[in-house]
Symmetry: C2
């Protein structure tokens, strides 16, 4: 007997038929004797419609009212799932964030979960074998008593937080893919599904554009040691063995749980990047601040930053990347600050891509990046910039070479499936 | 300065444009210095869609889950109205039933309001001139902490109950008609809008098919002495004088507030009736119970009951009416109980209508009904059955004569407009 959290996203509960499918997944686990808490998103399309209405009501609107409005979506899907479960003979009830409660910070629209009271749910597991169907994405602020939401994709975070609160053995994220792959299968046909991936690696994957899971939910899983299992909601509920040691999917877990460690786990990439190079910047204290403070004030996230050691001791070139959506605003901000920064020329490019090689094994293996540079050079792919961290390195290249580069590196590190 | 509750139904908040119109009504009263609590229904169509989903999920569904799902509609409209009000510069916030809280009984789907805590709203009237936008139709059960709903039209009841709790000077019900008329203007072109009507009279109107207001809200208004003002949400907000002693509409109030008392206030009618006559029932104790207990057990509401004093001391005829939707079931129930009741023949008719003449003045005026009988006879309208109460009498006639009868009585009692 295990205690599981099962999370289903908006497309999995898009209509009553889909909800019935979800219910059969839940019933399978209940019948296997597991204690189950389900976390659901709003029915697909609902949240967007509610957000549109808020925008129509007023361009700038009170985030507290926005939260109260948008949180209604999960209230509906949770209630409907409870009804369908009961109809299948499963004891179930819905819980809204404020009912448990799920206490959050006061940052409406992007609240952080502070505490979850899971005692009543656990009591009902024991006494009545009752399935708890919990609204994802939302909570309540303790002092104001107002409903908060966690921001886009917040249901993943809710699920992992609930799993932590009730000390679940695993948090199953049912989604439209059947796991985490060594790279995007649409680009790399030879990409393999990973059996397991370490939290740290998944964090890099998630923040580098593999849209399987919210970054925050992975962080939370890592901190609270909640094993997260990514699996497909399209698998037929009846085809899955609830007693299997590991059903089809990818387990995100601690390093210590991964016996067979690879040096490189996967290759991520993002075309949603733009490069900005500032030429002949004065090489003196305070210049970096003069550049990046105006960007931060415009809420522009800077990603890669490359600054070379000055050759002449007087000026240097500085390159960084921003999301392509912010490119124009970033160029303008740097242009405005020209006098304060003191530079000769400003170059930019939006036809660039970032390729990242990720693997915990890199920590203990030297020369991993060097192999990549050689392989890319042999394909005549020019590297514009390089950054490295403990468990990954990224290169910035011309966007036209993205697919070639990703496939080359995928083969290079032995990730292609047999 | 007055304290007002303003209630808007589903068609008044059907979309953002309509909500903007509502907000202008609210702003007008705020600008006039009044303290305002608004009670809203769900956007038109929302509640029906949610109810449909519940039905799709399971034919028989948990009323507690149904309530949690259906209550989400008002959550959205209240939040949107708060946003639009803020956009107009009005200080406002939304309140859900559980936030105030509005405590109700545990009868999910048809809960009764037990208590409303209006202290925080009143504090904010004083401190911040804040408008409270409250979700109608719903509350919370104190012990279970689960959301409850009041049943169809419950928002009227919510509004009157809130008005009672905060000791409002008036509860304005904005609806798609501009008041209560002496009869249905579609049937009686000469019907006049009433300036005032007593609670007791309105109760008869409401329960006799004038669909302006929920019966329960009128009862509540009578008990808590909340003056209810029925007015049109289609009036242009800017055309109304918020300082006027009485804007266009009908005030439902205590008798003592009605200076110029008419004998007859209005004529109501209902075609939604069916007549059942049981012939030659044994005239002995226990027979009425034998007839009406089976009907009650089938949840069939019996309305008019007419039993004549037996002529021969042995048998009598008994006639009663039921809603036409329940006619078949009622006939079957009586048929089944034939042995227990002991009767000769069962007659029924669904092409009947009930015409009711209502007026508090009847209490002190004799002969009011007699005039009606004479007038109907002069039109060759046969009366099938008669019932009377202190402030009204009803006649059952052939449905074909409904319009003629209503117009005849409307003229007879001097209700036609000049």
């Amino acid at each position: 007997m295990s205690r599981l959290v099962m999370k289903f996203g908006g497309t999995s509960v898009a209509d009553i038929d889909h909800i019935r499918n979800v219910a059969r997944h839940v019933k399978r686990e209940v019948d296997a004797g597991h204690e189950i808490a389900v976390v659901v998103s709003a029915m697909a399309g609902t949240t967007n419609r509610l957000i549109e209405w808020c925008g129509e009501a007023a361009a700038l609107h009170d985030a507290r009212e926005y939260d109260a409005i948008v949180a209604s979506g999960e209230q509906v899907s949770a209630g409907l799932l409870a009804i369908v479960l009961q109809d299948l003979g499963v004891v179930a009830r819905s819980w809204q964030g404020w009912q448990l409660p799920i206490l959050t910070s006061n940052a409406h629209g992007a609240a952080r979960i502070l505490d979850i009271n899971g005692a009543e749910i656990v009591r009902r597991f024991k006494e009545r074998k009752e399935v708890a169907v919990i609204t994802g994405f939302q909570g309540i602020h303790k002092e104001t008593g107002r409903i908060t939401t966690l921001g886009r994709g917040g249901s993943d975070t809710s699920a992992v937080a609930v799993a932590g609160a009730i000390m679940a053995d695993r948090c199953d994220i049912y989604t439209d893919v059947d796991g985490v792959y060594t790279s995007d299968p649409r680009v790399v046909p030879k990409a393999r599904r990973l059996e397991k991936i370490a939290f740290e690696e998944m964090l890099e994957f998630a923040s580098l554009g593999a849209k399987v899971l919210q970054v925050r939910s992975v962080e939370l899983g890592m901190v609270h040691k909640v094993r997260i299992f990514v699996r497909s909601s399209f698998d037929k509920p009846e085809d899955i063995d609830p007693y299997a040691n590991q059903p089809p999917g990818t387990l995100i877990c601690g390093e210590e749980d991964i016996v067979e460690q690879h040096v490189v786990t996967g290759i991520a990439f993002s075309k949603d990047e733009a490069q900005i190079s500032i030429r002949q910047v004065a090489d003196k204290p305070g210049v970096a601040a003069a550049i990046f403070v105006p960007l931060a004030e415009s809420s522009i996230n800077v990603d890669m930053i490359v600054q070379n050691v000055s050759a002449d001791g007087k000026t240097t070139d500085l390159t960084f990347t921003v999301p392509s959506a912010d490119y124009q605003r970033a160029m303008e901000a740097i242009g405005k600050a020209k006098a304060a920064i003191g530079y000769q020329r400003l170059d930019g490019a939006t036809d660039v891509a970032k390729i990242s090689v990720i693997g915990i094994g890199m920590r203990s293996h030297a020369g991993v990046a060097a192999e990549a540079f050689r392989a890319l050079a042999s394909r005549n792919i020019n590297i514009r910039a390089i950054t490295t961290s403990e468990i990954k390195f990224s290169v910035l290249i011309d966007a036209a070479y993205t697919e070639l580069a990703v496939r080359t590196l995928h083969s290079l590190y032995g990730l292609d499936k047999a």
